[in-house]
Protein backbone atom coordinates (compact mmCIF):
# COMPACT_ATOMS: atom_id res chain seq x y z
CA UNK A 1 0.00 0.00 0.00
CA UNK A 2 1.22 3.49 -0.81
CA UNK A 3 1.87 6.14 1.84
CA UNK A 4 -1.31 8.03 1.01
CA UNK A 5 -3.97 5.65 -0.23
CA UNK A 6 -6.19 7.00 -2.96
CA UNK A 7 -9.03 5.54 -4.99
CA UNK A 8 -9.32 6.26 -8.71
CA UNK A 9 -13.07 6.65 -8.59
CA UNK A 10 -13.66 6.69 -12.34
CA UNK A 11 -11.86 3.39 -12.70
CA UNK A 12 -13.63 1.71 -9.77
CA UNK A 13 -17.06 3.13 -10.67
CA UNK A 14 -16.69 1.59 -14.11
CA UNK A 15 -15.83 -1.79 -12.57
CA UNK A 16 -18.93 -1.45 -10.36
CA UNK A 17 -21.12 -0.33 -13.29
CA UNK A 18 -22.15 2.70 -11.27
CA UNK A 19 -22.90 6.11 -12.78
CA UNK A 20 -21.96 9.04 -10.53
CA UNK A 21 -22.07 12.80 -10.98
CA UNK A 22 -18.88 14.85 -10.69
CA UNK A 23 -20.17 16.34 -7.44
CA UNK A 24 -20.76 12.86 -6.01
CA UNK A 25 -17.30 11.74 -7.05
CA UNK A 26 -15.62 14.78 -5.50
CA UNK A 27 -17.38 14.30 -2.15
CA UNK A 28 -16.83 10.56 -2.12
CA UNK A 29 -13.15 10.92 -3.02
CA UNK A 30 -12.20 12.79 0.15
CA UNK A 31 -14.35 10.57 2.37
CA UNK A 32 -12.94 7.36 0.90
CA UNK A 33 -9.35 8.51 1.27
CA UNK A 34 -10.06 9.17 4.98
CA UNK A 35 -11.56 5.70 5.36
CA UNK A 36 -8.64 4.04 3.54
CA UNK A 37 -6.26 5.89 5.84
CA UNK A 38 -8.12 4.37 8.77
CA UNK A 39 -7.73 0.90 7.21
CA UNK A 40 -3.95 1.34 7.44
CA UNK A 41 -4.23 0.19 11.07
CA UNK A 42 -4.34 -3.33 9.67
CA UNK A 43 -0.79 -3.06 8.36
CA UNK A 44 0.57 -3.03 11.89
CA UNK A 45 -0.64 -6.60 12.51
CA UNK A 46 1.50 -9.65 11.92
CA UNK A 47 -0.67 -12.02 9.89
CA UNK A 48 2.08 -14.42 8.78
CA UNK A 49 0.74 -17.96 8.76
CA UNK A 50 -2.80 -16.92 9.68
CA UNK A 51 -5.46 -18.72 7.70
CA UNK A 52 -7.95 -16.31 6.10
CA UNK A 53 -11.47 -16.57 7.51
CA UNK A 54 -14.39 -16.27 5.10
CA UNK A 55 -17.10 -17.76 7.27
CA UNK A 56 -17.97 -17.87 10.95
CA UNK A 57 -18.10 -21.65 11.27
CA UNK A 58 -16.03 -24.38 9.72
CA UNK A 59 -18.58 -25.57 7.22
CA UNK A 60 -17.43 -27.58 4.27
CA UNK A 61 -19.30 -29.05 1.34
CA UNK A 62 -23.01 -28.81 1.76
CA UNK A 63 -24.79 -31.62 -0.01
CA UNK A 64 -28.41 -31.70 -0.94
CA UNK A 65 -30.51 -34.82 -0.72
CA UNK A 66 -30.94 -34.72 -4.49
CA UNK A 67 -33.19 -32.40 -6.42
CA UNK A 68 -36.77 -32.66 -5.35
CA UNK A 69 -39.20 -31.31 -7.92
CA UNK A 70 -41.27 -28.60 -6.29
CA UNK A 71 -43.61 -25.82 -7.22
CA UNK A 72 -42.25 -23.04 -9.38
CA UNK A 73 -43.59 -19.59 -10.13
CA UNK A 74 -45.72 -19.01 -13.17
CA UNK A 75 -43.66 -16.97 -15.68
CA UNK A 76 -45.95 -13.93 -15.42
CA UNK A 77 -45.38 -13.71 -11.65
CA UNK A 78 -41.69 -13.08 -12.30
CA UNK A 79 -41.84 -11.10 -15.53
CA UNK A 80 -44.38 -8.66 -14.14
CA UNK A 81 -41.67 -7.48 -11.68
CA UNK A 82 -39.47 -6.39 -14.57
CA UNK A 83 -39.54 -2.70 -15.50
CA UNK A 84 -40.62 -3.75 -18.98
CA UNK A 85 -41.91 -7.11 -20.19
CA UNK A 86 -43.73 -8.56 -23.17
CA UNK A 87 -45.09 -12.07 -23.82
CA UNK A 88 -43.63 -13.32 -20.50
CA UNK A 89 -40.17 -12.08 -21.45
CA UNK A 90 -38.09 -9.25 -20.03
CA UNK A 91 -37.51 -6.41 -22.49
CA UNK A 92 -34.06 -4.74 -22.57
CA UNK A 93 -32.40 -2.30 -24.98
CA UNK A 94 -30.74 -3.81 -28.04
CA UNK A 95 -27.53 -5.61 -26.99
CA UNK A 96 -26.15 -6.72 -30.36
CA UNK A 97 -25.41 -4.17 -33.04
Amino acid sequence: MSETPHIDIDYVANLARLDMTDAEKAKLGTQLDDILGYFDKLNAVDVDGVEPMAHAHRVFNVWREGDQPGETYAPEVLTKMAPESRDNQVVVPKVVE
Binding site: V12, V47, P52
Partner: protein, 488 residues
Protein backbone atom coordinates in the same frame (compact mmCIF):
# COMPACT_ATOMS: atom_id res chain seq x y z
CA UNK B 1 -58.59 -2.57 27.29
CA UNK B 2 -55.79 -0.12 28.00
CA UNK B 3 -52.21 -0.31 26.86
CA UNK B 4 -52.36 -3.74 25.25
CA UNK B 5 -49.77 -2.39 22.82
CA UNK B 6 -47.15 -2.08 25.58
CA UNK B 7 -47.61 -5.61 26.95
CA UNK B 8 -45.16 -8.45 26.43
CA UNK B 9 -45.67 -11.60 24.39
CA UNK B 10 -45.76 -13.75 27.52
CA UNK B 11 -48.34 -11.47 29.20
CA UNK B 12 -50.54 -11.43 26.10
CA UNK B 13 -50.18 -15.19 25.58
CA UNK B 14 -51.50 -15.73 29.11
CA UNK B 15 -54.37 -13.28 28.55
CA UNK B 16 -55.27 -14.95 25.25
CA UNK B 17 -55.18 -18.39 26.84
CA UNK B 18 -57.43 -17.17 29.69
CA UNK B 19 -59.89 -15.62 27.23
CA UNK B 20 -59.24 -12.11 28.61
CA UNK B 21 -58.47 -10.65 25.21
CA UNK B 22 -58.42 -11.60 21.53
CA UNK B 23 -55.86 -11.29 18.78
CA UNK B 24 -58.19 -8.89 16.98
CA UNK B 25 -58.27 -6.67 20.08
CA UNK B 26 -54.45 -6.73 20.42
CA UNK B 27 -53.90 -6.14 16.71
CA UNK B 28 -56.44 -3.30 16.69
CA UNK B 29 -54.65 -1.74 19.70
CA UNK B 30 -51.36 -1.84 17.80
CA UNK B 31 -52.99 -0.41 14.66
CA UNK B 32 -54.62 2.41 16.68
CA UNK B 33 -51.38 3.18 18.49
CA UNK B 34 -49.51 3.32 15.18
CA UNK B 35 -52.15 5.66 13.75
CA UNK B 36 -51.75 7.90 16.82
CA UNK B 37 -47.94 8.15 17.05
CA UNK B 38 -46.33 7.18 13.76
CA UNK B 39 -46.68 10.66 12.25
CA UNK B 40 -44.06 11.66 14.85
CA UNK B 41 -41.97 8.48 15.01
CA UNK B 42 -42.11 7.46 11.33
CA UNK B 43 -41.12 3.87 12.08
CA UNK B 44 -43.26 2.29 9.35
CA UNK B 45 -42.77 2.62 5.59
CA UNK B 46 -46.12 0.97 5.01
CA UNK B 47 -48.80 -0.88 6.95
CA UNK B 48 -51.64 -3.15 5.92
CA UNK B 49 -54.24 -3.05 8.70
CA UNK B 50 -56.77 -5.10 6.76
CA UNK B 51 -54.29 -7.91 6.19
CA UNK B 52 -53.17 -7.85 9.85
CA UNK B 53 -56.76 -7.98 11.12
CA UNK B 54 -57.54 -10.90 8.80
CA UNK B 55 -54.59 -12.82 10.27
CA UNK B 56 -55.77 -11.89 13.78
CA UNK B 57 -59.27 -13.11 13.06
CA UNK B 58 -57.88 -16.42 11.79
CA UNK B 59 -55.89 -16.72 15.02
CA UNK B 60 -58.98 -16.12 17.15
CA UNK B 61 -60.92 -18.71 15.15
CA UNK B 62 -58.10 -21.23 15.66
CA UNK B 63 -58.18 -20.59 19.37
CA UNK B 64 -61.97 -20.86 19.53
CA UNK B 65 -61.70 -24.26 17.83
CA UNK B 66 -59.20 -25.41 20.48
CA UNK B 67 -56.29 -25.35 18.04
CA UNK B 68 -54.19 -22.48 19.40
CA UNK B 69 -50.56 -22.83 18.31
CA UNK B 70 -48.42 -21.53 21.17
CA UNK B 71 -47.24 -18.26 22.74
CA UNK B 72 -46.94 -16.37 19.43
CA UNK B 73 -50.42 -17.23 18.18
CA UNK B 74 -52.22 -13.94 17.55
CA UNK B 75 -49.26 -11.66 18.40
CA UNK B 76 -48.59 -8.79 15.93
CA UNK B 77 -44.94 -8.67 14.89
CA UNK B 78 -43.49 -5.82 12.81
CA UNK B 79 -41.06 -6.67 10.01
CA UNK B 80 -37.98 -4.81 8.78
CA UNK B 81 -38.22 -3.79 5.13
CA UNK B 82 -35.41 -6.17 4.17
CA UNK B 83 -37.33 -9.41 4.83
CA UNK B 84 -39.66 -10.86 2.21
CA UNK B 85 -43.36 -11.09 3.10
CA UNK B 86 -45.57 -12.45 0.36
CA UNK B 87 -47.64 -9.82 -1.45
CA UNK B 88 -46.16 -6.96 0.61
CA UNK B 89 -43.67 -4.35 -0.66
CA UNK B 90 -39.98 -5.17 -0.15
CA UNK B 91 -38.01 -2.00 -0.78
CA UNK B 92 -35.04 -2.16 1.59
CA UNK B 93 -35.81 1.55 2.05
CA UNK B 94 -34.27 2.07 -1.41
CA UNK B 95 -35.50 3.74 -4.60
CA UNK B 96 -33.89 0.77 -6.32
CA UNK B 97 -36.77 -1.47 -5.19
CA UNK B 98 -39.50 1.17 -5.15
CA UNK B 99 -42.09 -0.97 -6.95
CA UNK B 100 -41.02 -4.43 -5.81
CA UNK B 101 -43.64 -6.67 -4.21
CA UNK B 102 -42.39 -9.94 -2.78
CA UNK B 103 -43.77 -13.12 -4.38
CA UNK B 104 -42.78 -15.29 -1.39
CA UNK B 105 -42.24 -15.39 2.39
CA UNK B 106 -38.76 -15.45 3.94
CA UNK B 107 -38.14 -18.64 5.93
CA UNK B 108 -38.29 -16.75 9.26
CA UNK B 109 -41.70 -15.36 8.21
CA UNK B 110 -42.93 -18.85 7.26
CA UNK B 111 -41.88 -20.05 10.71
CA UNK B 112 -43.59 -17.13 12.48
CA UNK B 113 -46.77 -17.82 10.51
CA UNK B 114 -46.56 -21.50 11.50
CA UNK B 115 -46.44 -20.28 15.11
CA UNK B 116 -49.57 -18.20 14.48
CA UNK B 117 -48.00 -14.72 14.56
CA UNK B 118 -49.69 -11.77 12.88
CA UNK B 119 -47.23 -10.27 10.35
CA UNK B 120 -47.53 -6.49 10.62
CA UNK B 121 -46.19 -3.69 8.41
CA UNK B 122 -42.88 -2.73 6.82
CA UNK B 123 -40.36 -1.04 9.11
CA UNK B 124 -37.96 1.69 8.06
CA UNK B 125 -34.21 1.11 7.92
CA UNK B 126 -31.02 2.45 6.42
CA UNK B 127 -31.02 1.73 2.68
CA UNK B 128 -29.98 -1.92 2.16
CA UNK B 129 -29.18 -2.01 5.92
CA UNK B 130 -26.16 0.24 5.45
CA UNK B 131 -25.99 2.72 8.28
CA UNK B 132 -26.24 3.26 12.02
CA UNK B 133 -28.92 5.95 12.26
CA UNK B 134 -31.72 5.09 9.77
CA UNK B 135 -30.97 8.45 8.13
CA UNK B 136 -29.93 6.61 4.95
CA UNK B 137 -33.51 5.56 4.17
CA UNK B 138 -34.57 6.86 0.77
CA UNK B 139 -38.07 7.50 2.12
CA UNK B 140 -38.08 8.99 5.60
CA UNK B 141 -36.06 9.62 8.74
CA UNK B 142 -37.25 7.73 11.81
CA UNK B 143 -37.20 9.51 15.18
CA UNK B 144 -36.11 8.05 18.51
CA UNK B 145 -39.31 7.98 20.60
CA UNK B 146 -37.31 9.04 23.71
CA UNK B 147 -36.23 12.28 22.05
CA UNK B 148 -37.65 13.01 18.63
CA UNK B 149 -34.66 15.18 17.74
CA UNK B 150 -32.31 12.19 17.99
CA UNK B 151 -31.78 9.17 15.76
CA UNK B 152 -33.12 5.71 16.72
CA UNK B 153 -29.89 3.99 15.70
CA UNK B 154 -29.64 1.71 12.72
CA UNK B 155 -29.85 0.05 10.46
CA UNK B 156 -32.98 -1.53 12.02
CA UNK B 157 -34.07 1.87 13.40
CA UNK B 158 -37.72 1.43 12.45
CA UNK B 159 -37.88 -1.94 14.25
CA UNK B 160 -36.43 -0.42 17.44
CA UNK B 161 -38.46 2.78 17.37
CA UNK B 162 -41.71 0.89 16.76
CA UNK B 163 -41.02 -1.18 19.89
CA UNK B 164 -40.25 1.84 22.06
CA UNK B 165 -43.39 3.61 20.79
CA UNK B 166 -45.72 0.61 21.26
CA UNK B 167 -46.43 0.15 17.55
CA UNK B 168 -45.85 -3.63 17.65
CA UNK B 169 -45.55 -6.32 20.35
CA UNK B 170 -42.26 -7.49 18.85
CA UNK B 171 -40.36 -6.77 15.65
CA UNK B 172 -37.76 -8.41 13.46
CA UNK B 173 -34.54 -6.77 12.37
CA UNK B 174 -31.28 -7.85 10.80
CA UNK B 175 -27.80 -7.43 12.23
CA UNK B 176 -24.67 -7.34 10.06
CA UNK B 177 -22.46 -5.20 12.30
CA UNK B 178 -24.79 -4.21 15.15
CA UNK B 179 -27.94 -3.25 13.28
CA UNK B 180 -30.23 -4.88 15.86
CA UNK B 181 -28.28 -4.34 19.09
CA UNK B 182 -27.26 -0.69 18.60
CA UNK B 183 -30.79 0.60 17.82
CA UNK B 184 -32.19 -1.59 20.63
CA UNK B 185 -29.78 0.09 23.06
CA UNK B 186 -30.56 3.58 21.77
CA UNK B 187 -34.33 3.00 21.95
CA UNK B 188 -34.37 1.21 25.34
CA UNK B 189 -35.62 -2.19 24.18
CA UNK B 190 -34.20 -5.72 23.97
CA UNK B 191 -32.50 -6.67 20.70
CA UNK B 192 -30.69 -9.89 19.93
CA UNK B 193 -28.37 -11.20 17.21
CA UNK B 194 -28.14 -15.02 17.07
CA UNK B 195 -25.15 -17.24 16.39
CA UNK B 196 -24.37 -17.06 12.66
CA UNK B 197 -26.43 -19.67 10.82
CA UNK B 198 -29.04 -20.26 13.51
CA UNK B 199 -31.80 -18.50 11.55
CA UNK B 200 -32.12 -18.99 7.81
CA UNK B 201 -31.24 -15.99 5.66
CA UNK B 202 -33.57 -17.14 2.89
CA UNK B 203 -35.77 -14.17 1.98
CA UNK B 204 -33.43 -11.65 3.60
CA UNK B 205 -32.02 -9.25 1.01
CA UNK B 206 -28.29 -9.95 1.19
CA UNK B 207 -25.91 -7.19 2.31
CA UNK B 208 -22.83 -9.05 3.63
CA UNK B 209 -23.68 -12.74 3.54
CA UNK B 210 -20.98 -13.99 5.94
CA UNK B 211 -22.21 -11.54 8.61
CA UNK B 212 -25.97 -10.99 8.10
CA UNK B 213 -28.33 -12.50 10.67
CA UNK B 214 -32.05 -12.09 11.35
CA UNK B 215 -33.00 -11.47 14.98
CA UNK B 216 -35.77 -10.24 17.29
CA UNK B 217 -36.55 -6.98 19.05
CA UNK B 218 -38.69 -7.49 22.14
CA UNK B 219 -39.75 -5.85 25.41
CA UNK B 220 -38.15 -8.58 27.48
CA UNK B 221 -35.38 -11.16 27.20
CA UNK B 222 -37.98 -13.89 27.63
CA UNK B 223 -39.94 -12.60 24.62
CA UNK B 224 -36.76 -12.57 22.52
CA UNK B 225 -36.17 -16.18 23.59
CA UNK B 226 -39.71 -17.17 22.56
CA UNK B 227 -39.18 -15.61 19.12
CA UNK B 228 -35.81 -17.29 18.66
CA UNK B 229 -37.27 -20.71 19.45
CA UNK B 230 -39.90 -20.19 16.76
CA UNK B 231 -37.46 -19.05 14.06
CA UNK B 232 -34.28 -21.13 14.42
CA UNK B 233 -33.38 -24.20 12.42
CA UNK B 234 -31.53 -25.51 9.41
CA UNK B 235 -33.11 -24.61 6.11
CA UNK B 236 -32.43 -26.29 2.76
CA UNK B 237 -32.90 -22.90 1.12
CA UNK B 238 -29.87 -21.40 2.95
CA UNK B 239 -26.72 -23.49 2.74
CA UNK B 240 -25.11 -21.43 5.54
CA UNK B 241 -27.89 -22.21 8.01
CA UNK B 242 -26.90 -24.68 10.71
CA UNK B 243 -28.78 -27.17 12.84
CA UNK B 244 -28.87 -25.83 16.39
CA UNK B 245 -26.47 -27.35 18.89
CA UNK B 246 -26.99 -27.60 22.63
CA UNK B 247 -29.91 -26.27 24.58
CA UNK B 248 -32.62 -24.53 22.52
CA UNK B 249 -35.59 -24.42 24.92
CA UNK B 250 -34.43 -20.91 25.76
CA UNK B 251 -37.59 -19.51 27.38
CA UNK B 252 -37.83 -22.38 29.88
CA UNK B 253 -34.08 -22.47 30.47
CA UNK B 254 -33.73 -18.80 31.36
CA UNK B 255 -36.02 -19.29 34.34
CA UNK B 256 -34.00 -22.25 35.63
CA UNK B 257 -30.51 -20.91 35.12
CA UNK B 258 -29.70 -18.57 37.98
CA UNK B 259 -25.93 -18.40 37.93
CA UNK B 260 -23.66 -17.33 39.42
CA UNK B 261 -21.67 -16.99 36.23
CA UNK B 262 -18.10 -16.16 35.34
CA UNK B 263 -18.39 -12.98 33.32
CA UNK B 264 -15.62 -11.42 31.25
CA UNK B 265 -15.10 -7.68 30.96
CA UNK B 266 -12.78 -6.63 28.11
CA UNK B 267 -10.86 -3.50 29.04
CA UNK B 268 -10.56 -2.56 25.35
CA UNK B 269 -14.27 -1.69 25.37
CA UNK B 270 -13.98 1.01 28.02
CA UNK B 271 -11.23 3.17 26.53
CA UNK B 272 -11.12 6.00 24.03
CA UNK B 273 -14.41 7.16 22.51
CA UNK B 274 -16.81 5.97 25.20
CA UNK B 275 -19.28 8.49 26.61
CA UNK B 276 -18.64 8.95 30.38
CA UNK B 277 -22.31 8.38 31.27
CA UNK B 278 -22.37 5.14 29.27
CA UNK B 279 -19.14 4.00 30.92
CA UNK B 280 -20.46 4.69 34.44
CA UNK B 281 -23.76 2.99 33.64
CA UNK B 282 -22.15 -0.22 32.36
CA UNK B 283 -19.70 -0.32 35.28
CA UNK B 284 -22.72 -0.12 37.59
CA UNK B 285 -24.33 -3.04 35.75
CA UNK B 286 -21.12 -5.05 36.15
CA UNK B 287 -21.11 -4.22 39.88
CA UNK B 288 -24.67 -5.54 40.10
CA UNK B 289 -23.58 -8.91 38.68
CA UNK B 290 -20.72 -8.94 41.17
CA UNK B 291 -23.16 -8.28 44.03
CA UNK B 292 -25.11 -11.35 42.91
CA UNK B 293 -22.08 -13.56 43.38
CA UNK B 294 -20.83 -13.58 39.79
CA UNK B 295 -17.09 -13.70 39.30
CA UNK B 296 -15.97 -10.78 37.15
CA UNK B 297 -12.90 -11.64 35.09
CA UNK B 298 -10.75 -9.02 33.36
CA UNK B 299 -10.23 -10.32 29.86
CA UNK B 300 -8.44 -8.98 26.83
CA UNK B 301 -9.66 -8.91 23.24
CA UNK B 302 -6.48 -7.35 21.87
CA UNK B 303 -7.58 -7.15 18.23
CA UNK B 304 -10.85 -5.34 19.03
CA UNK B 305 -9.71 -2.02 17.68
CA UNK B 306 -9.18 -3.66 14.30
CA UNK B 307 -12.78 -4.86 14.08
CA UNK B 308 -14.05 -1.67 12.43
CA UNK B 309 -11.51 -1.64 9.56
CA UNK B 310 -11.87 -5.41 9.07
CA UNK B 311 -15.63 -5.09 8.99
CA UNK B 312 -15.70 -2.24 6.50
CA UNK B 313 -13.45 -4.21 4.16
CA UNK B 314 -15.23 -7.58 4.46
CA UNK B 315 -18.76 -6.15 4.52
CA UNK B 316 -18.27 -3.74 1.61
CA UNK B 317 -16.53 -6.42 -0.46
CA UNK B 318 -19.46 -8.78 0.04
CA UNK B 319 -21.95 -5.96 -0.55
CA UNK B 320 -20.35 -4.92 -3.83
CA UNK B 321 -20.83 -8.48 -5.03
CA UNK B 322 -24.35 -8.97 -3.60
CA UNK B 323 -25.64 -5.65 -4.94
CA UNK B 324 -24.48 -6.48 -8.48
CA UNK B 325 -27.88 -8.13 -8.95
CA UNK B 326 -29.58 -4.73 -8.99
CA UNK B 327 -28.94 -4.12 -12.66
CA UNK B 328 -32.16 -2.56 -13.92
CA UNK B 329 -33.08 -5.67 -15.90
CA UNK B 330 -35.32 -8.04 -13.97
CA UNK B 331 -36.91 -6.35 -10.97
CA UNK B 332 -35.16 -3.19 -9.85
CA UNK B 333 -35.32 0.46 -10.89
CA UNK B 334 -34.60 1.08 -14.58
CA UNK B 335 -33.34 4.41 -15.86
CA UNK B 336 -35.49 5.96 -18.53
CA UNK B 337 -32.35 7.50 -20.03
CA UNK B 338 -30.73 4.16 -20.85
CA UNK B 339 -30.41 3.61 -24.58
CA UNK B 340 -27.95 0.70 -24.54
CA UNK B 341 -27.13 -2.24 -22.29
CA UNK B 342 -24.17 -0.63 -20.49
CA UNK B 343 -26.11 2.55 -19.75
CA UNK B 344 -28.98 0.40 -18.51
CA UNK B 345 -26.68 -0.91 -15.77
CA UNK B 346 -24.75 2.24 -14.92
CA UNK B 347 -27.61 4.75 -15.04
CA UNK B 348 -30.15 2.52 -13.31
CA UNK B 349 -27.68 1.88 -10.49
CA UNK B 350 -26.62 5.52 -10.34
CA UNK B 351 -30.24 6.67 -10.00
CA UNK B 352 -31.47 3.82 -7.78
CA UNK B 353 -28.80 3.75 -5.06
CA UNK B 354 -28.31 6.41 -2.39
CA UNK B 355 -25.01 7.95 -1.21
CA UNK B 356 -24.03 5.43 1.47
CA UNK B 357 -24.77 2.44 -0.76
CA UNK B 358 -22.66 3.98 -3.53
CA UNK B 359 -19.88 4.67 -1.05
CA UNK B 360 -19.84 1.03 0.04
CA UNK B 361 -20.08 -0.39 -3.47
CA UNK B 362 -17.07 1.71 -4.53
CA UNK B 363 -15.11 0.77 -1.41
CA UNK B 364 -15.96 -2.92 -1.77
CA UNK B 365 -15.14 -3.00 -5.46
CA UNK B 366 -11.83 -1.28 -4.75
CA UNK B 367 -10.69 -3.69 -2.01
CA UNK B 368 -11.47 -6.63 -4.29
CA UNK B 369 -9.85 -5.11 -7.38
CA UNK B 370 -6.68 -6.39 -8.97
CA UNK B 371 -3.60 -5.13 -7.14
CA UNK B 372 -5.44 -4.32 -3.87
CA UNK B 373 -7.03 -7.67 -3.00
CA UNK B 374 -4.10 -8.97 -0.94
CA UNK B 375 -3.45 -5.69 0.83
CA UNK B 376 -7.06 -5.17 1.92
CA UNK B 377 -9.46 -8.09 1.52
CA UNK B 378 -7.11 -10.99 2.17
CA UNK B 379 -5.42 -9.19 5.07
CA UNK B 380 -8.82 -8.34 6.57
CA UNK B 381 -9.87 -12.00 6.38
CA UNK B 382 -6.73 -12.98 8.28
CA UNK B 383 -7.27 -10.37 10.98
CA UNK B 384 -10.86 -11.60 11.19
CA UNK B 385 -9.50 -14.95 12.31
CA UNK B 386 -7.36 -13.24 14.97
CA UNK B 387 -10.50 -11.51 16.27
CA UNK B 388 -12.28 -14.88 16.50
CA UNK B 389 -9.21 -16.29 18.27
CA UNK B 390 -9.44 -13.54 20.91
CA UNK B 391 -13.02 -14.57 21.71
CA UNK B 392 -12.21 -18.30 21.74
CA UNK B 393 -9.43 -17.67 24.22
CA UNK B 394 -11.64 -15.49 26.41
CA UNK B 395 -14.42 -18.09 26.44
CA UNK B 396 -12.03 -20.67 27.87
CA UNK B 397 -12.31 -18.65 31.09
CA UNK B 398 -15.80 -17.16 31.12
CA UNK B 399 -19.47 -18.01 30.46
CA UNK B 400 -20.37 -14.68 28.85
CA UNK B 401 -18.87 -11.27 28.15
CA UNK B 402 -20.30 -7.92 29.28
CA UNK B 403 -19.74 -4.69 27.33
CA UNK B 404 -21.58 -1.50 26.45
CA UNK B 405 -23.69 -1.97 23.30
CA UNK B 406 -22.95 1.49 21.90
CA UNK B 407 -20.20 3.95 22.88
CA UNK B 408 -22.73 6.80 23.06
CA UNK B 409 -26.45 7.28 23.60
CA UNK B 410 -28.60 8.42 20.65
CA UNK B 411 -27.04 11.36 18.81
CA UNK B 412 -28.82 14.27 17.13
CA UNK B 413 -30.16 13.84 13.64
CA UNK B 414 -27.73 15.05 11.00
CA UNK B 415 -24.80 15.11 13.44
CA UNK B 416 -22.76 12.42 11.67
CA UNK B 417 -24.45 12.50 8.27
CA UNK B 418 -21.41 13.92 6.45
CA UNK B 419 -18.78 12.04 8.41
CA UNK B 420 -19.01 8.36 7.41
CA UNK B 421 -16.04 7.38 9.54
CA UNK B 422 -17.63 8.80 12.72
CA UNK B 423 -20.82 6.95 11.80
CA UNK B 424 -18.89 3.69 11.30
CA UNK B 425 -17.44 4.02 14.81
CA UNK B 426 -21.01 3.86 16.25
CA UNK B 427 -20.69 0.10 15.81
CA UNK B 428 -17.30 -0.34 17.44
CA UNK B 429 -18.62 -2.61 20.25
CA UNK B 430 -20.98 -4.72 18.16
CA UNK B 431 -19.02 -5.44 14.97
CA UNK B 432 -16.49 -7.95 16.33
CA UNK B 433 -19.38 -10.20 17.41
CA UNK B 434 -20.57 -10.48 13.79
CA UNK B 435 -17.04 -11.13 12.53
CA UNK B 436 -16.74 -13.99 15.03
CA UNK B 437 -20.28 -15.29 14.35
CA UNK B 438 -21.29 -15.17 18.03
CA UNK B 439 -24.66 -14.46 19.65
CA UNK B 440 -25.18 -11.23 21.60
CA UNK B 441 -28.08 -9.36 23.15
CA UNK B 442 -28.60 -5.75 24.18
CA UNK B 443 -30.69 -5.26 27.31
CA UNK B 444 -31.78 -1.85 28.70
CA UNK B 445 -29.43 -0.80 31.51
CA UNK B 446 -30.69 2.68 32.42
CA UNK B 447 -30.80 6.24 31.16
CA UNK B 448 -28.56 9.25 30.77
CA UNK B 449 -29.31 12.39 32.77
CA UNK B 450 -31.15 13.76 29.76
CA UNK B 451 -33.34 10.64 29.64
CA UNK B 452 -31.80 8.71 26.74
CA UNK B 453 -31.65 4.91 27.06
CA UNK B 454 -28.39 2.97 27.47
CA UNK B 455 -27.89 -0.71 26.62
CA UNK B 456 -25.75 -3.48 28.14
CA UNK B 457 -24.43 -6.05 25.68
CA UNK B 458 -24.13 -9.69 26.75
CA UNK B 459 -22.03 -11.76 24.33
CA UNK B 460 -22.38 -15.54 24.42
CA UNK B 461 -20.40 -18.48 23.11
CA UNK B 462 -21.29 -19.81 19.66
CA UNK B 463 -24.64 -21.62 20.14
CA UNK B 464 -24.58 -20.45 23.76
CA UNK B 465 -27.86 -18.57 23.48
CA UNK B 466 -29.39 -20.34 26.49
CA UNK B 467 -26.72 -19.02 28.86
CA UNK B 468 -26.62 -15.61 27.17
CA UNK B 469 -30.39 -15.20 27.62
CA UNK B 470 -30.15 -16.30 31.27
CA UNK B 471 -27.40 -13.79 32.07
CA UNK B 472 -29.36 -10.95 30.40
CA UNK B 473 -32.64 -12.02 31.99
CA UNK B 474 -31.17 -11.95 35.50
CA UNK B 475 -30.21 -8.29 35.08
CA UNK B 476 -33.48 -7.32 33.44
CA UNK B 477 -35.64 -8.91 36.15
CA UNK B 478 -33.74 -7.08 38.90
CA UNK B 479 -34.30 -3.67 37.26
CA UNK B 480 -37.30 -1.83 35.85
CA UNK B 481 -35.64 -0.14 32.86
CA UNK B 482 -37.34 -2.39 30.31
CA UNK B 483 -40.79 -1.46 31.66
CA UNK B 484 -40.36 2.27 31.12
CA UNK B 485 -41.94 3.85 28.08
CA UNK B 486 -41.34 7.24 26.42
CA UNK B 487 -43.87 10.09 26.55
CA UNK B 488 -45.26 10.65 23.08
Amino acid sequence: MSDLHFKTISELAAMLAAGETTSVEITQAVIDRTAAVDAQVKAFLSTDAEDALAQAKASDERRAAGKALGPLDGIPIGIKDTLAVKDQPLRCASKMLENYVSPFDATCIVKLREAGAVIWGRLNMDEFAMGSSTENSAYQTTANPWDLETIPGGSSGGSAAAMAAGEAIATLGTDTGGSIRQPAALCGVVGMKPTYGLISRYGLVAFASSLDQVGPFARTVEDAAILMEAMLGKDDLDSTSIAPQGETNYAAALKEKKGPWKLGVPQEFFGEGIDPEVKANIEKAIDWYKSQGCEIVDISLPHSELAVPVYYIVATAEASSNLARFDGVRYSHRSEEAKDAMALFTKSRGEGFGDEVKRRIILGTYVLSSGYYDAYYLRAQKVRRLILGDFEKAFEQVDAILTPTSPTPAFKRGERADDPLAMYLSDVYTISVNLAGLPAISVPSGFTESGLPIGLQVIGKAFGEADMFAVANAFEKAHDYAQQTPKL
